[in-house]
């Protein structure tokens, strides 16, 4: 994933002048709402012009991860599973890390996160492994395997859940409070899934190359936070200025 930046900008994160009318209007409305709530802050030149585009990388040597032995239901699940608690690109980019702003900008608003996300269980693995959902959003848990899975989680802020799930049945679980929740399967010990309930819209999930983008940011100084299930949380100060998008590299020390 080493595509030139201008090309990515033209396909994914479209610059402001090319936005569709509907999206522009909703963004304006949100921005207006935020603006009305925190109108004592200095007004930025353009409330939604800035963006952060960066990469999360590993600092230090990558830990050696062993393949996970499958001890049960081998005929459906396979003999072993790839360790997915830390997945790196060849350049050292970390996949499925979650990046967010510690304090979202007042009066500015990014595009809202999709209120419903999907997490499938396929060949006895949660796919995707990490899902971001806004507070008040829902996750549709699916089961593509021809056996029973048992969703089990004991979050601290949200209510716990423990549901048996046959193939083809969808279990929808709402998440009200922002937090990072671990989801397991009682029947298959190696299965891990993570639900990140976002406090605000400035959350991003890194792709296979470890890249992410936060859009709709007014210029200013921000604290970026990045979380990865194995490496924990790392913070970094970043200033969003005229340069658009602001490049940033978040390094997570190996441990």
């Amino acid at each position: 994933m080493t595509l030139p930046i201008h090309k990515r900008a033209s396909t994914g994160g479209a610059p402001a002048p090319r936005r569709s009318a509907a999206r522009t209007s909703s963004t304006v409305l949100c921005a207006l709402g935020v603006f009305l709530l925190v109108n004592n802050k200095p007004t930025p030149r353009d409330a939604t012009a800035g963006a952060i585009k960066g990469t999360v990388t590993l600092k230090g040597t990558a830990p050696e991860l062993k393949k996970l032995a499958v001890t049960i239901d081998q005929y459906v699940c396979g003999k072993e599973k790839n360790p997915e608690e830390l997945v790196l690109s060849p350049q050292g980019g970390i996949r499925s890390a979650v990046v967010w702003l510690d304090k979202p900008p007042a009066g500015a608003s990014a595009a809202a996160l999709a209120p419903t996300a999907t997490m499938d269980q396929k060949e006895c693995v949660f796919a995707p492994r990490v899902v971001v959902v806004p507070a008040g959003g829902k996750i549709d848990f699916l089961n593509s395997d021809r056996l029973l899975h048992n969703l089990h989680s004991t979050p601290s802020a949200n209510p716990p859940f423990n549901r048996t799930q046959p193939k083809g049945r969808t279990i929808t679980i709402p998440f009200e409070k922002p937090e990072i929740i671990r989801v397991t399967c009682d029947l298959h010990s190696w299965m891990r899934g993570w639900v990140v309930v976002a406090e605000h819209p400035y959350y991003a999930l890194t792709d296979g190359a470890g890249e992410f983008e936060l859009k709709g940011l007014p210029a200013g100084r921000y604290t970026l936070k990045v979380w990865q299930e194995r490496l924990g949380t790392v913070s970094k100060e970043v200033v969003v200025g005229d340069q658009d998008p602001t490049p940033v590299t978040l390094e997570m020390p190996a441990r």
Binding site: I72, Y75, V76, L148, N162, R163, T164, P166, K167
Partner: protein, 524 residues
């Protein structure tokens, strides 16, 4: 040979008639056997492979039966744990139900992959029922967790039990299908084994029969011509040429037989030619013998006729020299003595020729009678002593003591010894001449040794032939007719004896002859 005359003889002759070399025929035989071995190997390997395949199928069917049993067990356990869950309402039995249900799912997936096509429908039916069962189990588990016991119980009664019964029936029919499949496979295995047994036995019998028949035909197709050749060669060895060898073979043996026939014809032709030549020679020989006898008779007659006037000449010469016709003038005496000497010489010559021709004409007969060896030796010594003295030679005789009176022609034996001793004296210039007679085992040996000129080795063989002396110049120097040794040899042989000589050129010769003490089987 009895076998050959049986119906088996026909294929032997047919095989012999095949126009191919022995090498090719033997090779073909070996190749046939090799082919049989290969065929047997291929069949065996195929049987083994077939057996192995069926055994594998059997194993697989057995494995599927085991899995089916596991499914049944998992089903029973689920029911059991469901009841336990309803009783205890705890999380632990719930997870046990789920565990058993997944065991069912996993084993079923295994079974589905391994099952033969015709069982797929049945397995799909189980699958469908199991999907329902899975949903029901999940519902019951979740209901128990939600403390909705009544709902869970209803689900158990109205949904789970019928489904489980259905699954049980389906699995039961699957098991019985697998078991009947196993039974069929076992039968098939046994059939394969029996068939391979029959096949192997068939091959073994066919191989033995083929080896026997093939061996018989091939070996006899080679033995027959050899026997024919053997018989034929025996005929040839016995002198019966001109036969033919007839063999059916068109191989090397056939060629050999043709060559032998040709050889036989050649031998026959040569034999005939030789017979004709021999007959011709025999005729010629007869004629020659006839001519020779005529010559000998003529000579005998001639000698006799010659002796009469010669005796007259010698008689008158002697009368003249005895001066019965008056005194002989001194100047005539010498010529008269010369006439007498030459006359006597001529007489001896004529006598010798007469003797030889008599012998050759087969008209000489020995005058057998008792004689004394001592007497013979003394006569010879007396006759030749003057000659020895004249030549200044030592001349001694020795007769072994105690020789009994012998039987033979004393006169002729005297002639023999006289001849040998006379020759010895004649051919010796200085030294000595010794006569020695010994007796052993009924045989008399007369030996005359001299220190004369000797005889060259190459001449020893010819010395006893007529008119032979070592050198023609010798005749001129020493005189003699050259018939003496020849006559002596004939006379000795007429006595049944043998004559010989040992000689060294320039050192002397030893002539000897042996005669039986009692010649011609005379009185002992």
């Amino acid at each position: 040979m009895a076998l050959i005359n049986s119906p088996l003889g026909a294929p032997v002759r047919a095989f012999a008639r095949i126009r191919a070399s022995v090498h090719v025929k033997l090779l073909a035989g070996f190749l046939l056997i090799t082919f049989l071995v290969i065929a047997l190997t291929v069949v065996s390997l195929r049987t083994v492979a077939e057996t192995a395949r069926e055994a594998t199928l059997l194993d697989q069917a057995h494995e599927r039966v085991v899995w089916s049993r596991q499914i049944e067990h998992a089903l029973a356990m689920q029911m059991h744990f469901t009841s336990m869950t309803l009783l205890s309402q705890g999380e632990e039995p719930v997870s046990l139900i789920l565990r058993e249900n997944n065991r069912f799912n996993d084993t079923l997936a295994r079974l589905e992959t391994a099952a033969p096509a015709e069982e797929r429908t049945l397995i799909q039916a189980i699958r469908g029922a199991q999907d329902d069962a899975m949903a029901t189990v999940a519902d019951i588990a979740n209901a128990v967790r939600d403390k909705k016991l009544a709902e869970a119980l209803t689900a158990l009664r109205t949904r789970q039990e019928p489904i489980y019964q259905k699954i049980e029936t389906l699995v039961g029919s699957l098991v019985s299908a697998e078991e009947s499949r196993m039974a069929k496979l076992r039968q098939s295995l046994a059939a394969t084994r029996r068939q391979s047994m029959r096949l192997m036995t068939g091959f073994a019998v066919a191989s033995v029969v083929l080896a026997l028949v093939g061996g018989f035909i091939i070996s006899w197709s080679f033995i027959l011509p050899v026997r024919a050749a053997h018989g034929f060669l025996s005929d040839v060895a016995a002198g019966r040429f001109g036969g033919t060898v007839v063999v059916p073979n068109r191989d090397e043996f056939g060629a050999l037989a043709e060559h032998m026939t040709w050889m036989s014809r050649e031998l026959h032709r040569l034999d005939e030619e030789q017979r004709v030549a021999a007959a011709t020679l025999r005729g010629l020989n007869d004629r020659l013998a006839l001519a020779s006898r005529a010559k000998s008779e003529f000579l005998a007659n001639m000698s006799h006729e010659l002796r009469t006037p010669l005796n007259a000449i010698l008689g008158f010469t002697e009368i003249l020299l005895d001066e019965l016709y008056g005194e002989v003038p001194a100047n005539l005496r010498e010529p008269l003595v010369d006439i007498q000497t030459n006359g006597r010489h001529l007489l001896r010559l004529i006598n010798d020729v007469l003797d030889l021709s008599k012998i050759e004409a087969g008209r000489l007969e020995l005058g057998l009678g008792e004689y004394s060896v001592q007497e013979i030796v003394e006569v010879v010594h007396a006759s030749l002593r003057s000659l020895a003295i004249e030549k200044g030679l030592a001349f001694s005789v020795r007769v072994a003591p105690g020789i009994p009176a012998a039987w033979g022609d004393g006169r002729r034996l005297t002639q023999c010894l006289l001849n040998l001793a006379g020759n010895a004296l004649k051919f010796t210039r200085q030294g000595r001449v010794d006569i020695d007679v010994s007796h052993a085992d009924g045989w008399l040996t007369f030996k005359v040794a001299d220190t004369g000129i000797g005889i060259p080795k190459e001449e020893v063989e010819n010395i006893f032939a007529e008119f032979r002396q070592v050198d023609t110049t010798i005749t001129r120097e020493y005189g003699g007719t050259g018939l003496g040794l020849s006559i002596t040899k004939r006379l000795v042989e007429m006595h049944g004896g043998r004559i010989g000589v040992e000689s060294e050129l320039g050192r002397g010769s030893t002539f000897f002859f042996t005669v039986p003490l009692h010649a011609d089987g005379g009185p002992a």
